[in-house]
């Protein structure tokens, strides 16, 4: 399947930490014909295995399924729905947005006092999430009996393409999920990868790399973990900063270090080397904020060298993100090249 079709479908699916079922079922349907084995672990990770020509060695390729969203805290008597954030969302990007609440995906808007009713001080202030509510147009709590505490609410955004860009929600990390499914498709039918590809779509990344902590457990002879992510892109920051973390259009970003990992030096050099050798444009992620599943996988058992490559996404963790078409193509190309060249990363771990 076309990778961009996967990105579109996955982006439109709704799946937050602990509620990945909808996306997981879609992914399972997409990969089950092309891989040798599919399983789901108790935390909700979906793992698809495509056995390689080399029966011993493997690589673990990960992408997380969950997006940032909301969980219903309470339905007030008035029918207004109060919520928690599931994952890191700034209240700055919320007021006035459309959301879908509960299992029936009931449409609503994130409500706050109108401009006219605010004091001059309030107009300058950003409300906290606990001050906001979802209004589904109900007159009382009786009318929203099908929504209760623990239900999820999602941004409503539907994917579209325009010019050189893709617009949509949850590119963090549906870009990674789409790339992973596309990769597995490349190795379907008569084609087999050189080494076994263990493709794990992880759960609960946005609330603390939780799926990632279980992703590498029990695997043997893993050369390394390639983690496919979406990352911050600050090239449109109004207050110009001296160093954009990534620039849209400059290629996929390779991580040397972030809050949860320092990329194994040999693996970092291997990945940049592969990009150079194949002539794939790339950039380094020029900031160490944020953490990814690679940090959790790296510390599994005796340790697994792990590296993250990311699609730069403007306005990440918000109702709409914008990603660059050529970045996505090069992201796929780089992931494919790393998998293809993986037997070249012979010596596992640090120098011996």
């Amino acid at each position: 399947m076309e990778a961009v079709e996967l990105l579109k479908r996955y982006s439109n699916h709704r799946a937050a930490a602990g509620d990945e079922e909808e996306l997981r079922a879609a992914i399972r349907g997409d990969v089950k014909e092309t891989v040798d084995d599919v399983s789901v672990n108790p935390l909700g990770n979906l793992t698809a295995v495509r056995r390689g020509k080399d029966g011993e060695k493997s690589i673990l390729v990960t992408a997380h399924m969950d997006e940032v969203a909301f969980m219903v805290k309470a339905v007030e008597k008035s029918g207004l729905i109060r919520m928690y954030a599931v994952g890191g969302i700034s209240p700055k990007v919320l007021v006035g947005n459309q959301v879908l609440v509960g299992r029936d995906r009931k449409p609503g808007v994130i409500a706050y006092r109108s401009y006219h009713l605010m004091t001059p001080q309030e107009r300058k202030k950003i409300p906290e999430i606990k001050e906001l509510a979802i209004d589904v147009g109900a007159g009382s709590s009786e009318e929203v009996r099908d929504v209760g505490p623990g239900d999820y609410a999602y941004f409503m955004s539907e994917f579209f393409a325009q010019g050189d860009c893709y617009f949509g929600k949850a590119f963090d990390d549906r870009a990674g999920c789409a790339a992973l499914t596309w990769l597995l498709g490349e190795y379907g039918g008569e084609t087999r990868p050189e080494v076994t590809v263990v493709a794990t779509y992880t759960a609960q990344e946005e609330v603390g790399l939780r799926g990632g902590q279980t992703a590498g457990f029990g695997l043997r002879n893993v050369l390394f973990n390639l983690n496919l992510e979406g990352t911050t892109c600050s090239d449109r920051e109004l207050k110009t900063s001296y160093t954009p973390i990534t620039v849209s259009g400059a290629g996929p970003a390779i991580t040397f270090m972030d809050r949860t990992s320092v990329t194994n030096r040999k693996l970092f050099e291997f990945v940049t080397g592969v990009a150079q050798k194949r002539g794939i444009p790339y950039q380094l992620k020029k900031g160490v904020a944020g953490g990814t599943d690679a940090g959790a996988v790296a510390l599994t058992g005796e340790g697994i060298p792990a590296v993250t490559i990311s699609l730069p996404i403007r306005y990440i963790h918000a109702p709409w993100g914008i990603a660059n078409r050529s970045d996505f193509d090069n992201y796929l190309a780089l992931a494919d090249a790393i998998v293809g060249e993986s037997p070249g990363f012979g010596a596992r771990g640090a120098k011996t």
Binding site: T243, M257, T263, R265, L284, K286, L299, G301, E302, G349
Partner: protein, 340 residues
């Protein structure tokens, strides 16, 4: 206290995740004295010294070899470098300090405007390597390269002062112990751990790999004895080996604390009970490895930790060497008896 032959501990580069230089130096120093040298995927160095007992157990001794530092995130057109931190360090410790890169390149930390001195912010600071422009800077330093404050430690009047004492002094203690133990009952696994300063990472994977029966970590602890200073813990420089009871990341099993104190009493080694309000050490990760491991700590009380002027007392270092050595040699360690 004689640092002869081990001076490299205070000059060999090793910022978290990039410990290759110091790892190679320690490995070549320890190589002739141990039975086996291993690495783990996270970058830790493991030196194995086999014990003589039949049915011997595994003692993991750990000190971290990584230091805090900085990572280059941007090189501007005039050749100045912007950076992020690797590990935590207050702004006040940084300005005007020299930094050294793995390649040996030296830089100085500056800030944009004099008015920022009143309210220093790291994103208003930069590293100046004296390059004419981005091109020249790029030949010396790449984005993603790490550097650390350059202030090699020196010995004067019974104290050791300088950078990287946290935790190269612990590495020194382990190397001293390694040289002194001779014949010993249990297997000794000397772990020079990586990435401690960014989240106790190396000790976690090493402990998993080694499955020790007991762990002992040698690190620095806050010396809470400054004039009018805030009380951050119980230990004071010069008062002996600090036997860890508790810190921000771990509560040591009571029996192990008592045992270490009794051992110090028995051999007349100066010691103090160490309770630290904050902080985290490798003890935490060893204790929580797999199904749980008995793990404690012996620390060197140190002033101004994470600054270019860390200070500790030679006598305390000696006490830690003595206590750790006795711990390794003791035949009747109650935690390593025959349980069945």
């Amino acid at each position: 206290m004689d640092f002869k032959g081990k001076e490299f501990l205070f000059s060999a580069f090793g910022v978290s995740g990039r410990e290759d230089c110091v790892r190679e130096r320690i490995a070549s120093h320890a190589g002739r004295l141990v039975d086996e040298i291993l690495n783990d995927a996270t970058g830790s160095l493991i030196c194995v010294k086999k014990g003589k007992n039949h049915g011997r157990k595994k003692i993991m001794l750990s000190a971290h070899m990584d230091t805090i530092g900085f990572v280059v995130t941007y090189i501007d057109e005039r050749g100045f470098l912007r950076f992020s931190e690797v590990g935590g360090q207050p702004e006040a410790y940084l300005l005007g300090k020299r930094v050294v890169f793995e390649s040996g390149t030296i830089g100085v930390i500056g800030t944009e405007k004099a008015e920022y001195l009143k309210n220093l912010k790291k994103d208003k600071m930069f590293i100046d390597i004296g390059a004419r422009d981005a091109g020249e800077a790029g030949k010396l330093v790449r984005i993603g390269d790490t550097c650390a404050v350059h202030a090699p430690a020196v010995q004067t009047g019974g104290v050791i002062t300088g950078g990287w004492i946290d935790d190269r002094i612990g590495c020194f203690v382990l190397l001293e112990v390694l040289e002194r133990v001779g014949e010993h009952p249990h297997d000794l696994l000397f772990v020079f751990s990586s990435q401690e300063e960014v989240g106790l990472r190396g000790a976690k994977t090493s402990a998993y790999k080694l499955e020790p029966d007991i762990g002992l970590v040698v690190d620095v602890t806050d010396s809470s004895d400054l004039p009018e200073g805030e009380i951050t813990g119980s230990s004071a420089m010069g008062k002996g080996a600090a036997i860890k009871v508790m810190d921000g990341s771990v509560i040591v099993q009571r029996d192990l604390v008592d045992y270490l104190c009794a051992l110090a009493e028995k051999y007349g080694i100066p010691y103090q009970r160490d309770v630290l309000r904050h902080g985290g050490t490798d003890t935490h990760e060893i204790q929580l490895s797999r199904g749980g491991v008995i793990a404690g700590g012996v620390s060197i009380p140190t002033r101004y930790i994470h600054s270019a002027g860390e200070m500790c007392a030679e006598a305390d270092v000696q006490a830690c060497v003595d206590l750790t050595t006795k711990f390794c040699l003791e035949e009747n360690n109650p935690f390593l008896g025959e349980f069945f």
